[in-house]
């Protein structure tokens, strides 16, 4: 068929060339001039095909020009041109084959060809095929994208034709996948559709589910007597079951006009209001109508008087319902297709469930690393040294603001973040040392007062930040290479920034562990914490060690601040949001142990994500339940997940 057509047009082409010195496109247009001028959706297809199948290089451009209503007819000789409107509504014409400028024409001398939206749609469909086999890979991808967005039945054949000749394996694979999806929806052959459904059931992508879901869509319908045999029944519905309540079933009948509406309490009230007569309704005084029973009594009186329609009793409803059958009907008439689609969806759901779990684990991991990062500085100052520093959150905030200030100085985001991390460490290290020297060292034997004094520092710092930076959130922009997400499939993905935070948390975990276990400072810190006098006798200066350790913990908080600032709003209240969680993390994990903090963060993070999963709309509830859980958890392990034993445990 196609070959014959081609031959036919080839012949026409030859004859066209023979009688005019115009280009090949002009020739084709002249052949179909009547159709084009008529421009009707019913008759235009041969003209479009003539251009599309011509094989002339400019054919696609011609179609684009036509579709964009830029094609003009010159009245003097009936030739077609591409036109560009100029000032004072004149039109400059260009030759369609050569692109040669033909000069400016007045309004009356040319006719614009205006295809309506129906014709435009047909032209577009023809264009998709052009672009599907366009030599430019970008055009092919664009065509695929438009087809993916707006799949249609006509494109299926075109797509199939374009697959074998595609040189790019990636685009070819994409085309093959799209072909399967279109086959599911549009192929007239049932077995081909089922084969495609089964093939695609191994994927979890959203577009596969989008292709399958309409196949199993149902509609609840009501039938008088039995369901007609030619309908594809999903299931029968019994009024009064969970799937279809009696009320809903009756409502359907009312909506279909098969039954009278029930009288609702609102109807009763309205009817009573209409029939008030001298302070009486149906012989009942109006002021006594303050219960439903009294109202129904008055209404019954009106019914007896024939003024209002009677109530329907439950028996009436029951009898009406019994005369009808209710069923969910698939919109697709073929049971084989709906069964296959149902099975495929079930298979996919199982996989989606599995991947959702994987995604949840990734989420939990990322939240864990955030909590860990926020708490690890505290694990040093509170966990190892036993100092309650309520201003810890403000050190986190200070780090975030340091990052913001650095970004104002260094515009390149990658460099500024790399600079901000050490600078934030130094700034908060110094702040920590200052706090330790000025306040905390006088209070080592009075932990509750440390709490209060550092709280004073905390509110002072918060207000100071507010005074300097204002109350509105300051942006801390992540470098562009952290913008995207690592995507495994349509279900499992994680944003790059969270991966970076995870890596940062891991680095800091290793670093703090290294400092505490393998360096002189770590050894001295542990010695001073366990027994300051004995440590002093051994020649360790407890003052110096305390100062440095507190500085270290604070510095880590500052670095955490830069990381947290990358995804959270940097405000003066940034630290507040993390302080309680951080203390919980350290306490739950077990004081005095970096591993414990990791365990605590993991528990709190995964717990929160787990609760959020069951109630995704409500993160507040998740936090509430998590804290309640922690309070109960402390009952059973007052010293945390990883409890220190022996003398190291202190009091």
């Amino acid at each position: 068929m196609k070959r014959i057509l081609l031959a036919f047009w080839a012949v026409l082409l030859w004859t066209g060339l023979a009688y005019a010195q115009t280009g090949p496109l002009q020739t084709i247009l002249q052949e179909n001039r009547d159709l084009i001028e008529k421009s009707s959706r019913q008759t235009i297809q041969p003209a479009i095909n003539a251009i599309a199948d011509s094989g002339v290089p400019g054919a696609a451009d011609l179609l684009v020009t036509w579709e964009a209503r830029q094609m003009y007819l010159r009245d003097s000789d009936g030739l077609f041109f591409r036109g560009v409107e100029e000032a004072d509504r004149n039109t400059r014409l260009f030759d369609l084959d050569t692109g040669e400028d033909m000069g400016v024409y007045e309004r009356g001398a040319v006719d614009q060809i205006r295809p309506n939206s129906g014709v435009q749609g047909l032209i577009n469909a023809a264009l998709v095929r052009f672009r599907l086999s366009d030599p430019d890979p970008k055009a092919r991808i664009a065509a695929l994208q438009s087809l993916e967005r707006r799949p249609d039945a006509e494109s299926l054949e075109l797509l199939r034709d374009s697959i074998p000749g595609d040189p790019d394996p990636a685009i070819k694979a994409r085309k093959e996948r799209l072909e399967r999806l279109l086959t599911i929806t549009y192929d007239p052959d049932e077995s081909a559709r089922i084969a495609a459904i089964e093939e695609m059931s191994s994927e979890v992508a959203v577009d596969v589910r989008a292709a399958l879901n309409p196949l199993v869509a149902t509609q609840t319908r009501v039938f008088e007597g039995a369901v007609p045999a030619d309908l594809n029944v999903a299931r029968m519905l019994e009024p009064g079951s969970d799937a279809l309540s009696r009320e809903a079933a009756y409502e359907m009948l009312v909506a279909a006009g098969n039954a009278p509406a029930r009288i609702t309490p609102a109807d009763v009230k309205a009817a009573l209001g209409e029939h008030v007569d001298g302070g009486l309704v149906g012989g009942v005084p109006v002021h006594s109508l303050i219960t439903d029973e009294a109202r129904y009594g008055a209404y019954a009186a009106l019914v007896r008087g024939g003024l209002v329609p009677p109530f329907l009793t439950d028996d009436d409803v029951e009898r009406t319902l019994a005369a009808y059958t209710f069923a969910e009907i698939y919109s697709d008439p073929s049971p084989a297709i709906t069964d296959a689609a149902g099975d495929a969806l079930e298979k996919i759901e199982l996989k989606v469930g599995l991947y959702t779990f994987v995604d949840l684990v990734l989420d939990a991991l990322s939240l864990t690393s955030i909590y860990f990062l926020a708490a690890i500085g505290l694990a040093v100052t509170f966990g190892v040294m036993g100092v309650i520093n309520m201003a810890h959150g403000e050190f986190i905030m200070m780090g975030a603001y340091t990052g913001y200030v650095i970004q104002q100085i260094i515009p390149d985001h990658t460099i500024s973040i790399l600079v901000a991390l050490p600078v934030a460490f130094v700034v908060t290290f110094l702040a920590g040392v200052l706090l330790e020297r000025l306040v905390i060292r006088w209070l080592y034997d009075r932990p509750l007062e440390t709490l209060l004094a550092t709280f004073g520092v905390s509110i002072a710092l918060q207000q100071l930040a507010k005074n300097i930076f204002g109350t509105q959130a300051r942006p801390l922009t992540a470098p562009a290479w952290l913008d995207g997400a690592v995507t495994f499939n349509d279900v499992v993905s994680i944003s790059s920034i969270r991966v970076a935070i995870f890596v940062l948390a891991a680095i800091f975990f290793a670093l703090v562990l290294l400092v505490m276990k393998r360096t002189r400072l770590g050894l001295e810190t542990r010695a001073v914490t366990q027994n300051p006098r004995m440590a002093a006798s051994m020649g360790i200066d407890p003052n110096r060690v305390n100062m440095l350790t507190f500085g270290l913990g604070s510095g880590i908080a500052g670095v955490a601040g830069v990381a947290i600032g990358l995804f959270a709003q940097v405000t003066s209240e940034l630290g507040q949001a993390y302080i309680v969680q951080s203390f919980m993390t350290v306490v739950v994990g077990g004081v005095g142990n970096i591993w414990g903090t990791l365990a605590g963060a993991a528990m709190i993070g995964s717990l929160q994500k787990g609760i959020e999963f069951f109630n995704p709309a409500n993160t507040l509830a998740a936090q509430t339940y998590m804290i309640v859980f922690i309070i109960i958890f402390i009952q059973f392990r007052p010293r945390g997940i990883i409890a220190l034993r022996g003398r190291a445990a202190g009091d």
Binding site: G273, I388, V457, A460, F583
Partner: protein
């Protein structure tokens, strides 16, 4: 007993005398009852401050005397406000709804009235159903009982869990803070049944008192607050003066030793914790009708820490210290953050108190902790010690 109790606490008659004199002074000068020199708005501020002093007394009992630094007592305060707020809001909305339905041809049924009230109250959180916790909202006596019971039961359960597990010191503080945070977050949800972050509002309109001028209602609340503070102070003073008081001070100073002496430390702590929670609930129930609105932000952990700040600045372990701290700090905060304090012009920079008061407060708090652990109340010692020393010196002659 009465004789011994008062003689052990010379501060009680002095404090009650000052409170009575102050109340009388305000009554004579207030807009509602006296000359009008003191505006009703300011009387409200004073009434609220008295409520804050009451919860500070409770805080002193639990922290200054028993050594439990609770960072959760403001949550109990807020709960008390919520409990009275439920009745106030329900009843007032009911009055409005009934009045608006009076003109309809057919009088409304009870169900219709309730639906309309539900719509009015919960429309703002996208619901119209009454949550189960509002079941007693139509009954003033029950809601008044809940003002004490809800904080009390919460404190009892939480305290039982915490003390049983021997959570002490800073760990307990953090745990109470977590409890407060959990409660605040819970109330922030629209599903909490207490209107989410909108809170309960319009509490200054007392149902049934529409005919009474607002200034007079303000005075009633002022008197009630003063009375509650007086009674609360008396109760606290009585508690700390007896044997019970000695035991809880012992717990504060050395918990293990008291336990080894055979006292049930947990029972004592739990009693104090629960009792002070109840006092906090009462204080809140008096405070929020004078404030007009209660919302979850009031309960946020920071509020409870401020409570600790007041008590610490006023002086722990002395009940009048708590009162002084609460009154001085909260009044100063109102004055400085209200924008009425004169700014200090340094030439190159103008210190605006609205911006710098928090900083000054935070730093002064550090200074008090470091250099004056006895707080403002410590000043009284200088005075009384000198007198005692003088008496002792005369006796020696």
């Amino acid at each position: 007993m009465q004789q011994g109790f008062l003689s052990k606490n010379p501060s009680v008659p002095v404090f009650l005398g000052i409170l009575a004199a102050f109340t009388l002074l305000i009554t004579l000068t207030a807009e509602g009852t006296g000359t009008g020199a003191v505006s009703a708005t300011f009387v409200k501020v004073l009434g609220r401050t008295l409520c804050l002093a009451l919860i500070a007394v409770a805080m002193d009992l639990v922290w200054g005397y028993t050594g439990i630094l609770s960072l959760g007592h403001f949550a109990f305060f807020g709960l008390g406000g919520y409990m009275i707020g439920m009745w106030l809001m329900y009843q007032r909305t009911r009055d409005i709804v009934v009045a608006s339905l009076a003109d309809t041809p057919i009088p409304a049924t009870e169900t219709e009235i309730n639906d309309a009230i539900g719509n009015q109250i919960f429309g703002v959180v996208g619901s119209s159903e009454f949550p189960a916790i509002w079941v007693f909202a139509d009954s003033l006596p029950i809601q008044l009982a809940l003002v004490v019971l809800v904080p009390g039961v919460l404190a009892l359960v939480f305290g039982w869990l915490a003390f049983r597990a021997r959570v002490t010191g800073v760990y307990l503080s953090i745990l109470t803070q977590a409890m407060t945070l959990a409660l605040a977050l819970y109330l922030f949800q629209n599903e909490s049944g207490l209107r989410g972050n909108n809170g309960l509002s319009g509490l200054q309109n007392i149902p049934g008192l529409e005919a009474v001028p607002p200034a007079t209602v303000t005075m009633w609340f002022f008197w009630a607050s003063a009375l509650a503070l007086g009674l609360g102070y008396l109760l606290a003073a009585w508690i700390v003066s007896g044997k019970f008081g000695s035991v809880i001070r012992g717990i504060r100073d050395n918990e293990a030793r008291v336990r080894f002496l055979g006292y049930s430390v947990e029972a004592y702590k739990l009693t104090v914790f629960t009792l002070t929670a109840c006092i906090a609930g009462v204080a809140g129930a008096l405070y929020y009708p004078q404030a007009g609105i209660v919302n979850p932000a009031e309960i946020a952990p920071i509020a409870s820490i401020y409570l600790a700040v007041w008590v610490a600045i006023g002086g722990r372990g002395r009940l009048y210290g708590a009162v002084i701290g609460a009154v001085v700090v909260s009044m100063l905060s109102t004055w400085f953050t209200g924008g009425r304090a004169p700014d200090i012009n340094l030439g190159f920079y103008t210190i605006k108190w609205v911006d710098w008061w928090q900083v000054a407060l935070g730093l002064s708090f550090v200074l008090v902790t470091l250099f004056a652990p006895k707080g403002i109340g410590g000043l009284v010692d200088i005075f009384t010690d000198r007198r005692k020393a003088g008496v002792a010196g005369e006796a020696g002659k």
